[in-house]
């Protein structure tokens, strides 16, 4: 099917023409039908048509899913267009019941157990079940879009878990976690589907790890109870460790252990800080301890105590991001991980660090975050954006290069968070998604060539554009997105972060310098990413490279949705930003009000006290002693 040397008038070609005609006929009929019903149908059908007609070498099996993807994405843009979405006001909430978040967390775990029960030989069934579960989760996550996020939290579920210690099962989603959740549910099935082409050993364990990992990631993004968050946070660790260690490259064990120890080191300190915070709350409130995020936000700690707790949280997140100088586990882990592992690690797990910093470090300890923001912003620019880019430039190993580019890109995200303007926070959140999409796509694409050549050295490639034109085109798209060329998603995030940094008043006198440094990073990004393109796709073709065939159906189908997303975010950023805006403004307002009441440089020194409840916080669980 994917043979590059198809004769000009083969049967296959004729069949594909017939297919094309059939598609056009069906689509035209549907168009006629739908155009009568709604104006939404026109762009959707346009997208469907284009996607169905574009692939030249593939048959039905590729065209139909591609068309479906394009249609769904177009429908998504039309439906989510801000003017339309604003109509549904946040206060006039559509039903938020149905326990969507709980089902999204539970379904992967149930799927994992089901995979465990299936016989070892039934690999097809295991693969199929995994994909079905993940796609169902994706479908459920799209249901979250039925509510306009605004400033508040939605789909709130709060059930007592261990009432004696005030531990609740509390999940909720807001504009910040919404897109990260959807990113997770989009990336995992893609990575999983792609991995089935290259992973052939121990399918059962592989599917099990992926499903448990998905559960951990989704849970971490929605947990609003710090204890629950910690449980999910640790739950992610083991499957990723196993994925790197079992299915990884030659020095996989060392990398896996390094990954585990770094992350574990950070997380135990965070656990200590969580414990202290919860019991300090009990001491102040005179009641039982609480691990609830919204309750703990009310605790106003003296600065010297806050410093230690902030450090415990922040260290865990900064290791996960990772920020210089704690980034050294990342290149090793990425290099040795299997493709799907790299994709998930880069696209979702690194976001745990940035999300955690935004939600917990900044949400719980604003004074300390403000005090350290100028210094950390300097680290993000120099150690992350500039140093990461310079390191990436020097790499010969392609996966290592992409890993260092992640260090640089997440430097932008962190810079946006430190700058703390409405624009920069929005930019950071959208940049988290962008980085997930574009770096995920780069890792996926690099996995394609790795499966064929089994080398990661850039110098082993060259001239690949001739034997693999589609591959080359898609790779260039991902590269441009990674650089941040206007029209692609990367531009939106980086632009907002850099402008936000210029306008920031959090960074002392250096906001201009830091914004300039970040802008220089964009140039460096263009240098090293274009170097990759040049080395891989142009120049003389070696004999081995000339024999490579272009993308198979599986590879094309797994990459295509990400390529579409790159342009959708790049061209219609408002669709995404309109949901983030409210939550970003809320974070900024909360932060500002705390800083105003307790101005620098001393912020607050005095006994720990409890502040009034915030308006956006969901009502505390009335059934504190509920039996389940």
């Amino acid at each position: 099917m994917e043979s590059p040397e198809t004769p000009v008038f083969s049967h296959e070609d004729r069949a594909s023409w017939q297919a094309r005609l059939a598609v056009i006929a069906v689509v035209a009929a549907l168009a006629a039908l739908a155009a009568r019903m709604s104006h939404e149908a026109v762009p959707v059908l346009g997208a469907v048509l284009i996607a169905a007609l574009v692939p030249r070498q593939h048959g039905w099996t590729v065209r139909v899913p591609l068309a479906a993807m394009a249609g769904l994405l177009a429908l998504f843009v039309v439906r989510m267009w801000p003017d339309v979405a604003e109509v549904a006001d946040a206060t006039a909430t559509s039903p938020e019941g149905g326990h969507i978040l709980s089902w999204m967390i539970a379904l992967p775990i149930l799927g994992a157990l089901a995979v465990l029960v299936l016989p070892r030989q039934a690999e097809g069934a295991q693969r199929g079940l995994t994909l079905v579960v993940m796609l169902t989760t994706l479908g459920m996550s799209l249901k979250l879009l039925s509510v306009s996020m605004g400033r508040g939290f939605h789909f709130d579920e709060n059930v007592a878990w261990i009432p004696r210690f005030g531990i609740h099962y509390h999940v909720a989603v807001d504009g910040i976690s919404l897109w990260l959740l959807i990113l997770t549910t989009v990336i995992t099935p893609i990575a999983t589907y792609a991995s089935f082409g290259s992973i052939h050993a121990r399918i059962k364990e592989w599917c099990f790890s992926l499903l448990v990992l998905q559960c951990g990631m989704l849970g971490s993004f929605v947990a609003m109870d710090l204890f629950l968050f910690y449980v999910f946070w640790e739950l992610m660790l083991i499957p990723m460790y196993v994925m790197i260690g079992v299915w990884g490259g030659s020095s996989r064990i060392k990398s896996a252990i390094k990954f585990f120890l770094y992350t574990m080191f950070g997380s135990v300190l965070m656990l200590g800080a969580i414990l202290y915070l919860a019991y300090d709350y009990a001491r102040v409130s005179g009641g039982p301890p609480s691990f609830d995020y919204f309750e703990l936000q009310r605790v106003l700690l003296p600065l010297h105590v806050q410093g230690w707790l902030w450090a415990g949280f922040t260290l865990a997140f900064v290791i996960k991001v990772p920020m210089f100088p704690l980034h050294t586990w990342l290149p090793d882990a990425h290099t040795e991980a299997p493709t799907a592992g790299s994709v998930i690690l880069a696209a979702v797990m690194l976001k745990m660090g940035t999300y955690g910093y935004l939600r917990f470090s900044m949400g719980l300890f604003p004074e300390m975050s403000a005090a350290w923001a100028p210094n950390l912003a300097g680290v993000a620019v120099l150690g992350g954006i500039i140093y990461g880019a310079l390191c990436a430039w020097k790499q010969d190993d392609a996966k290592r290069l992409i890993a260092y580019s992640s260090v640089a890109h997440l430097g932008y995200v962190m810079l946006g968070l430190f700058a703390l303007t409405a624009a920069s926070i929005e930019g950071s959140v959208i940049q988290m998604v962008n980085h997930g999409v574009s770096t995920g796509m780069l890792f996926l694409l690099f996995g394609v060539i790795y499966d064929r050549r089994h080398t990661r050295q850039l110098n082993d490639f060259g001239g690949l554009a001739r034997p693999m034109p589609v591959y080359a085109a898609l790779f260039v798209v991902a590269t441009l997105a990674s650089i941040g060329v206007p029209g692609t998603n990367g531009f939106v995030g980086e632009f907002m972060i850099i402008t936000g940094t210029f306008a920031s008043n959090m960074l002392g006198h250096f906001n201009g310098v830091q914004a300039t440094g970040a802008a220089i990073g964009v140039i460096l990004g263009a240098i090293y990413m274009l170097m990759v393109v040049q080395k891989m796709f142009f120049g003389p073709v070696s004999e081995k490279n000339a024999k490579q065939h272009d993308l198979t159906a599986r590879e094309l189908l797994s990459v295509a949705p990400l390529a579409m997303l790159i342009f959708i975010i790049g061209l219609f950023p408002n669709v995404f930003l309109s949901q983030i805006k409210g939550a970003a403004a809320r974070v900024k307002d909360d932060f500002d009000s705390r800083i105003e009441n307790n101005p620098p440089p001393m912020f607050y020194e005095g006994p720990t006290k409890l502040m009034p409840r915030r308006p956006e916080a969901p009502q505390p669980a009335t059934a504190a002693a509920a039996p389940h």
Partner: protein, 503 residues
């Protein structure tokens, strides 16, 4: 009769032990080779069911409420029958039953099928239960010796093995020394206070006698004797050898039940005899001593465990390290004893089921002549026997303290108590130690799932045994239950935590 009801856990185990000896002597049939071994698998069932019955009795008395039984307090101070005792009865019986089930699979497989082992388990458990109930130096010493002598004999049970003999001899010699020191300490305390019952010593300590040199020396000796049994660094030297030399079910038993009994003794002595404000203050009491011991124990054991080449020895060091974490909780008794004791109790249960399960999984990894001991033996086990590897991983992950397993909640409660008591630095060091601990537990996972055995190497072939599988299922269910639905277990630990209530 009501006293018999209150004593029913002890009586069940004690009478069961006697009955088991009789059955062993006259009831078992000769084995396949006449005159050498007997088929004693029935005894494993007998021992395990006796111990489960003992645990069930304790549970029933707990449900009924021991304070409602008339005359239950009349045995005090010799035997204190309170929820604390019953909690330990259940834990000890559970540990003993797991060990008996493991022995039922292990002993025949490795040609050690002699019925005495089961009687030893029962008598040792009986001793440990007396120890947990003891409120007087004399009963405490009786219980300790009953427990220890059984444990020495179990360690030496592999007569053909030099390591077994070496471990047992070390254990016996050092253990006897420690017991003597303990006894000497109690003698000094008696001299200082005129009391042998722990509560009496405690009330005398509140007066001037508490600061006399004689009393201080006596208390120090007693603590040294107890801490030896707990195997805290620097009194740990016997542990790795004894644990490695002993047949694995005996190792599991020592790691779970003997250790739990020793901690019961420590908690009793610290609360009843040394619970006065002067003795529990950081400036003039035992907390800095316990904190130092805890720190030394955790750090040393964790660092050394990472360097081991034998999984069994690694687990031995890991049990020392866990004693260190428990000692953190013991130190936290200085501020809020009830909460800290509850944490310690929960930790002992969580650690017990995880360690028992881990040793059980290790047993299942090997078979006759090819006992799995080293890391190389279990290389590639994830492929050869996925079920065992999965179970082993579960227990190790729990020991590493990763949520949502039992071990995590144990650490949680203990560290929480320590933070509440203001021991920030000690807690931070304990957190860091648990990271080091994760390294060597994960190393087992690395070998099981990520390494293949070297070409041509002799690997351990997994054995099959319903007994061991039963023990593993029981432990695994408890590990998950303690981790996912900890509320009821924590409640139980909280209500058992009033150590001095009826003292």
């Amino acid at each position: 009769m009501s006293i018999a009801l209150a004593l029913s856990p002890l009586l069940a185990v004690g009478l069961g032990a006697l009955l088991l000896m009789l059955v062993e002597a006259i009831g078992t049939k000769a084995g396949p080779v006449p005159g050498t071994f007997r088929d004693v698998r029935g005894l494993a069932v007998g021992a395990a069911s006796t111990l489960f019955a003992g645990g069930a009795f304790a549970g029933c008395v707990w449900m009924y409420g021991v304070e409602r039984i008339p005359g239950a307090a009349s045995l005090a101070p010799w035997l204190i029958l309170d929820p604390f005792t019953l909690f330990f009865d259940v834990l000890l019986c559970l540990g003993g039953a797991i060990a008996a089930l493991l022995a039922g699979g292990y002993m025949p497989e490795h040609g050690l099928e002699r019925g005495e082992f089961y009687a030893l388990i029962l008598f040792t458990t009986f001793g440990a239960m007396v120890l947990a109930a003891a409120g007087d130096a004399l009963t405490l010493f009786l219980g300790l010796e009953t427990m220890s002598i059984g444990a020495y004999a179990m360690t030496a049970f592999r007569r053909a093995s030099a390591r077994s003999a070496e471990g047992a001899l070390k254990y016996f010699l050092l253990g006897s020394f420690a017991a003597a020191i303990l006894l000497y300490g109690f003698a000094l305390l008696y001299g200082a206070t005129g009391h042998t019952d722990l509560a009496g010593i405690g009330s005398a300590a509140r007066q001037a006698a508490g600061r006399s040199p004689l009393f201080i020396l006596g208390a120090a000796f007693v603590l040294v004797g107890i801490v030896f049994k707990v195997s805290a660094v620097p009194f740990h030297a016997w542990t790795p050898d004894a644990y490695e030399g002993a047949p694995t079910p005996a190792t599991a038993y020592m790691a779970v039940a003997v250790k739990a009994g020793a901690f019961a003794m420590l908690l009793r002595v610290l609360t009843l005899s040394l619970g006065s404000p002067a003795w529990t203050s950081w400036a003039s009491g035992w907390p800095p001593v316990m904190a130092t011991l805890a720190l030394l124990t955790m750090t040393y054991a964790n660092l050394v465990a990472g360097r081991q080449e034998s999984v069994k020895r690694m687990l031995a060091y890991s049990s020392i390290a866990h004693a260190g974490y428990v000692l953190v909780g013991v130190t936290a008794m200085m501020r809020d004893p009830k909460q800290a004791v509850a944490g310690v109790l929960y930790y002992l249960v969580a650690y017990g089921v995880s360690t028992g399960g881990a040793f059980g999984a290790l047993i299942l990894c090997g078979s006759r002549g090819r006992e799995a001991v080293s890391y190389e033996d279990i290389a590639g086990l994830g492929k050869r026997n996925p079920a065992v590897a999965l179970a082993f991983s579960l227990f190790l992950v729990s020991l590493a303290g990763i949520p949502p397993m039992a071990g995590f909640f144990g650490k949680w409660l203990v560290f929480r108590a320590a933070i509440d008591a203001g021991l920030y630095k000690l807690t931070a060091l304990a957190f860091l130690n648990s990271v080091v601990g994760a390294y060597y537990y994960l190393r087992v996972l690395v070998y099981m799932y990520m390494r293949e055995p070297a070409a041509g190497a002799v690997t351990a072939a997994p054995m099959r045994s319903g007994f061991v599988v039963t023990a593993l299922v029981v432990s695994a269910v408890l590990v998950l239950a303690l981790g996912l639905t900890p509320t009821s277990y924590i409640d139980a630990a909280m209500s058992a935590a009033g150590v001095g209530a009826s003292g």
